[in-house]
């Protein structure tokens, strides 16, 4: 990908995305289809003659798609009739009926198998939500599962072993990945998902599921090694996953810059940039970018809860109120809207009301990651550590990449003085964001509480290395060294403390500021 790719690249990409839209919406994968359409509109304007050229050469670029896309849609006439009815039922949210319509024919074409099983999966999800009843109620939790997952996994596996053709269907592999992820077998899901995107890269849903499987930054290279290295979709995946892993590093920004030359008007990329800025604690930049998105696309509620988080952190009450009004004017019953309103109440210190709105968001969508974490924060404010712990846990069930939830759990357990627990969660948070000083301070604090000064010193030293010497850390270190009777070091840090108070703060021992957060 150069600085400015040639026009034929755009033509190809546009054609592939258009085709992807049709394939995805034909399979009832509407979120992915929406994303694809957004991406298509994010491309630069094509000149008319380019459009004519597109008419003449219909062959899609062979290097990115390994399979014959037309073969994906092959069905016998009777199958396609059943498929139409099933899809119509699915679109009217009659999932069981949709699945049943394809029961008979599902042994033949991959497309029918896909919709049959996908409808069963969605139906299972819907039923699980219904059976879970109230948020954080007695039935809400791991004991209530989607009962279709295991049968779908077994059925797909038997299809894969019996007819090798199904093994090369990207959508069946994608579905296999979805159910495995839902069944908490992320490790096993990587292979089929990677294969799915390799066979057909323009299915954004598969990339998202794959991103779900990457639970720490160490795993990202391992996953990337299985993917087509230079493909534009791989780059998008890399940026999105890094963003979710709080990696606001130079290289991510470089990739993002490259992508923005390909998709100059793609809102999704702008939001990724805003999120990266947010993680890097550059709130003003982040707010500016989000603001731009709101102006461009005022009814786009996706990710707007993130914007409300930025406004919350920067305490821009008026703007947050405005955003809340805007969102509820568009759709009151979207989880994002509820999160924005909840954030607003939280900022006004009306934590009970905030909790009500977070619950509403979660009733609308139990996989709303932000709502679980933030509800945990609210419960902490309300001094309800138990409920907070449960909320954070649920957040981690949705995505184990959420460092805030890990950190929140650590805090909650610290409050109820269960330091071993607390320690474990801080440790996980620190593993996700090793350059966040707070995590190390929290860890050190735990060691201190557990009467293990040597380890506490190590952790404080690590915290110190991540930022300018902070007086409180130095103070702690001095105390700890005195405690273990190491007077020499105690004095060394006492000198450092004195220096920093004077204002000539030295960088910590072996600081790696070039790798550190951008703040």
């Amino acid at each position: 990908m150069g600085t400015r790719p040639d026009p034929s690249f755009y033509k190809n990409l546009a054609r592939n995305l258009e085709q992807a839209y049709l394939l995805l919406s034909d399979r009832c994968l509407y979120e992915s289809a929406k994303w694809t359409a957004e991406a298509l509109n994010g491309l630069p304007e094509l000149e008319d003659d380019a459009a004519d050229d597109a008419m003449t050469e219909r062959e899609p670029d062979s290097d990115s798609i390994l399979i014959d896309v037309k073969s994906l849609d092959e069905m016998t006439p009777s199958e396609s009739r059943s498929y139409l009815l099933a899809k119509a039922c699915f679109d009217c949210r009659e999932y069981d009926r949709a699945a049943q319509k394809l029961e008979r024919v599902s042994t033949s074409s991959a497309k029918c198998i896909f919709l049959h099983l996908y409808a069963r999966y969605i139906s299972g999800e819907k039923k699980r939500d219904e059976q879970s009843e109230a948020i954080l109620g007695p039935l809400d939790g791991d004991a209530t599962v989607n009962k279709q997952l295991v049968p779908i996994i077994n059925e797909l596996e038997s299809h894969f072993t019996r007819s090798p053709a199904t093994k090369d269907d990207p959508f069946l592999l994608y579905l296999y990945g979805i159910v495995l992820v839902k069944h908490k077998c992320e490790k096993a899901a990587v292979e089929p998902l990677a294969r799915s995107v390799k066979l057909y890269p323009y299915n954004w849903g598969a990339w998202q599921e794959l991103s779900h499987c990457v639970s720490s930054i160490d795993q990202l290279p391992y996953v990337l090694a299985r993917l087509p290295p230079t493909h534009v979709m791989t780059k998008l995946f890399e940026v999105a996953t890094s963003q979710e892993l709080f990696q606001s590093t130079e290289s991510v920004f470089i990739t993002l810059d490259q992508l923005e030359t390909v998709f100059p008007n793609f809102v999704y990329l702008e939001i990724q940039r805003a999120m990266l800025c947010y993680h890097a604690l550059e709130y003003d930049d982040s707010a500016r970018l989000f603001d731009h998105v709101v102006k461009l696309d005022p009814h786009r509620l996706d990710d707007m809860d993130m914007y409300s988080n930025v406004l919350y952190v920067t305490e821009q009450r008026a703007k947050l109120a405005h955003l809340a009004q805007l969102a509820s004017a568009t759709d009151k019953f979207r989880p994002e809207t509820c999160c924005i309103i909840a954030n607003y109440y939280s900022l006004k210190s009306e934590h009970e009301k905030a909790v009500v709105y977070y619950r509403r968001a979660l009733t609308l969508n139990r996989n709303c990651l932000g709502a679980w974490t933030l509800m945990g924060h609210e419960y902490m404010e309300l001094k309800n550590a138990r409920a907070a712990i449960e909320s954070y846990r649920r957040a981690l069930k949705v995505s184990s990449k959420d460092a805030r939830a890990w950190y929140g759990l650590g805090q909650a357990y610290e409050v109820i003085e269960m330091y071993y627990y607390s320690f474990f969660y801080y440790q996980r948070a620190a593993a996700l964001t090793p350059y966040d000083q707070r995590m190390w301070i929290a860890l050190a604090n735990c060691f201190d509480k557990l009467q293990r000064p040597t380890e506490a010193i190590k952790a404080y030293t690590r915290a110190l290395s991540l930022s300018d010497s902070e007086p409180s850390i130095l103070q702690k270190l001095i105390e700890l060294y005195r405690q273990i009777g190491d007077k020499r070091n105690a004095e060394r840090y006492a000198v450092l403390l004195k220096n920093s108070e004077v204002g000539a703060g030295e960088g910590g021992v072996g600081a790696k500021s070039e790798m550190g957060t951008r703040g």
């Binding site: 077998c185 320690f423 474990f424 060691f447 380890e455 690590r462």
Partner: protein, 635 residues
């Protein structure tokens, strides 16, 4: 139009008789009637047109008239053929009553012929018509008159038949007592049948005799290949019924086997042997091989049909072969018995959904096919189809409250909605109605097992084990109960007994492995688990069948400190089955041993989120967390 009520059960094969069979029958009728000129069926040879109205034989039958065979003529003095006295039968009319023709037009044509008959014969015809149309009062009335007129033992026999069909067993018996029983085995048979109906087992046994008197003379009888069931076989079968009701199962089994050896067409005996599992799977196959199917017409077909009914744990290849042949050569793919056999196989393979579909297909045509209902119930219970169970139970109780299987249905429904007390009541009701109803006994025992009342469960399973000596299930359940009571020696004994009957049930092999595991004989346990997996694979079982085996395999590997294999098994289990807290705990233990404390902590937390009250998991979590903080020493 009154169809023969019990005809299907009395007449084994649901397939329509082939042309050859029909012609065989007709020959027999004509022959036998010739031997007994005073019986209605005489008219087949003498006046075929009238007989058609009475006996409703299809045209081809009428066309053929065969001279009476000398052998038959000299055989029994009393009613037509041996098979006439078959339990629940209608006498000679059974031959071709599948499509009775009561054609008034034909009657008119025979009016002149009727004039030639004697008064007694006309009355006999009346009696027979009445019997065929289930007008039993008429038949009794006319029968009494005929008997008074002639005082013929044959008429007494037929009157007894009428009484039997009316359900007046004592009356029939009393009538037959008047006759000299030794003169005719048919009379003796019917009398014994009445006695069994009256539950007078000892008297019945005295009537039929304790053993087969014709045993040594049977070569002679084999000459007859008449299409009907030999009376000798029926007698043997009846003897078996009596012995089994006297709880003498060894003798009963012998009698049934003898019945089949005498005449393979005695399906009731075969059915008793198979449904009550009086033989072990291997014995069943051996016995089937020893039977002389070549003696009867269509022997190949019957053999194939029988072989599909045998135990499904054994010789699956042969089953497939038989099924294939029946489907291709005989075009019987829609036969309900074949479908049922296929469904049984699916059940053994734990493919419950497929099994349910097939059962429903069968029940669609025959809503109350009692023989398949226990299987269907097991399927529905397995799949937690409470709603279907509810509807089925209601339909059954409305239409067939007299059948024990109806109350089994009700019991299963209550079991599946966890109303154990009610379930127990209905299982016990079913087993009271038929004390030899194994499914009811096992259900009854299950209700105790579910509530953890092991002692009572053990005694109920023991009863079941006594009733079904050829099936390994009751002994296996007994073994499982003792395993839960930690009586490992007893458990092993029962499981070994079960293993002697059936070597190819993965569940059993798994249980045996578990016993060895508890006795800390890990290598041997592993062997059994592997064997179980192998068998499950050979049966082509659904994943459901081998998930518990894999879990146990994982545990055994864990105890043997073969960590990677343990991990592999547990992870596979998590992928292919519903998540169980124990699996997570076990995985946590492995990870703890491998010093992956962070993973162990997550595993224990998963376990606790599924089962929050597990003290062991809490303990392990605490340990993992402590070890985890130690591991941080060198970061």
């Amino acid at each position: 139009m009154p169809a023969p009520r019990r005809a299907p059960s009395a007449y084994s094969t649901p397939v329509p008789p082939s042309r050859q069979q029909l012609s065989q029958r007709s020959r027999l009728d004509s022959a036998s009637s010739a031997a007994n000129p005073d019986l209605p069926s005489i008219s087949v040879s003498s006046n075929s047109s009238h007989a058609s109205s009475l006996l409703s034989i299809s045209p081809i039958v009428r066309a053929i008239t065969v001279p009476p065979s000398p052998f038959l003529a000299s055989s029994t003095p009393v009613p037509p053929t041996t098979k006439n006295a078959y339990p629940f039968g209608f006498g000679s009319d059974m031959d071709a009553t599948s499509t009775p023709v009561y054609n008034s037009a034909e009657r008119d044509t025979t009016a002149s012929a009727q004039a030639e008959l004697s008064q007694a014969d006309r009355l006999r015809l009346w009696r027979h018509d009445a019997l065929m149309q289930h007008q039993n009062q008429t038949a009794v009335f006319v029968g009494d008159t005929v008997l008074a007129l002639t005082d013929d033992p044959n008429d007494a026999f037929w009157l007894a038949q009428v009484h039997y069909n009316t359900g007046h067993y004592a009356r029939a018996r009393q009538l037959l007592m008047r006759q000299d029983l030794n003169r005719s085995s048919s009379c003796r048979y019917l009398a014994a049948l009445c006695l069994t109906r009256l539950s007078k087992w000892d008297e019945a046994l005295a009537t039929v005799g304790e053993s087969n008197p014709f045993r040594n003379a049977s070569e002679e009888a084999e000459v007859v290949s008449d299409g009907g069931i030999k009376l000798e076989a029926s007698m043997c079968y009846l003897r078996g019924i009596i012995y089994s009701n006297q709880n003498n199962f060894e003798k009963a089994k012998e009698c049934y086997m003898e019945a089949l050896t005498v005449d393979v067409k005695c399906f009731e005996a075969f059915d008793e042997l198979i449904t009550n599992s009086l033989m072990s799977p291997a014995e069943e196959w051996k016995f089937l091989e020893s039977l002389k199917f070549e003696d009867i017409p269509d022997g190949d077909l019957v053999k194939l049909l029988y072989s599909t009914k045998l135990n499904k744990y054994y010789n699956t290849a042969r089953f497939f072969e038989a099924e294939h042949q029946l489907q291709t050569v005989y075009q019987l793919s829609e036969s309900s018995d074949l479908l049922q056999s296929r469904a049984e196989l699916f059940f053994v393979q734990c493919r419950f959904n497929k099994c349910m579909d097939l059962c429903e297909k069968v029940l669609k045509n025959d809503r109350f096919k009692f023989s398949i209902i226990p299987l269907y119930l097991a399927c529905l219970h397995e799949l937690e189809q409470k709603n279907k169970l509810f509807l089925l139970a209601h339909e059954m109780t409305e239409n067939h409250p007299e059948e024990p299987v109806t109350w089994l249905t009700v019991g299963v429904y209550y079991l599946s909605i966890h109303k154990i007390a009610e379930a127990r009541r209905f299982f016990s009701k079913a087993s009271m109605m038929n004390p030899h109803f194994g499914a009811a006994w096992i259900g009854f025992a299950h209700t105790f097992a579910v509530e953890g009342e092991h002692e009572q469960a053990v005694s109920a399973y023991s009863t079941a084990a006594r009733l079904f000596q050829g099936t390994h299930l009751p002994s296996m359940f007994l073994g499982m109960q003792h395993l839960q009571l930690h009586n490992f020696t007893l458990a092993e004994e029962y499981l070994d007994a079960s293993y002697n009957i059936c070597q190819t049930d993965p569940l059993l092999l798994n249980e045996m492995g578990v016993v060895l595991y508890h006795k800390n004989q890990l290598e041997e346990a592993l062997e059994f688990f592997f064997k179980a997996l192998k068998v499950a694979e050979d049966l082509d079982s659904d994943t459901k069948a081998w998930v518990p085996i894999k879990i146990n395999l994982g545990h055994a590997f864990r105890q043997l400190r073969r960590w990677p294999e343990a991990l592999q098994n547990f992870e596979e289990v998590l992928r292919i089955s519903k998540h169980e807290p124990e699996v997570y705990s076990a995985l946590g233990l492995v990870n703890l041993h491998l010093n992956r404390t962070d993973k162990a902590v997550m595993n224990f937390q998963e376990a606790l989120s599924l089962a929050p009250n597990d003290p062991v998991a809490w303990d392990l979590l605490k340990r993992a967390l402590e070890e985890n903080s130690q591991a941080m020493l060198n970061f």
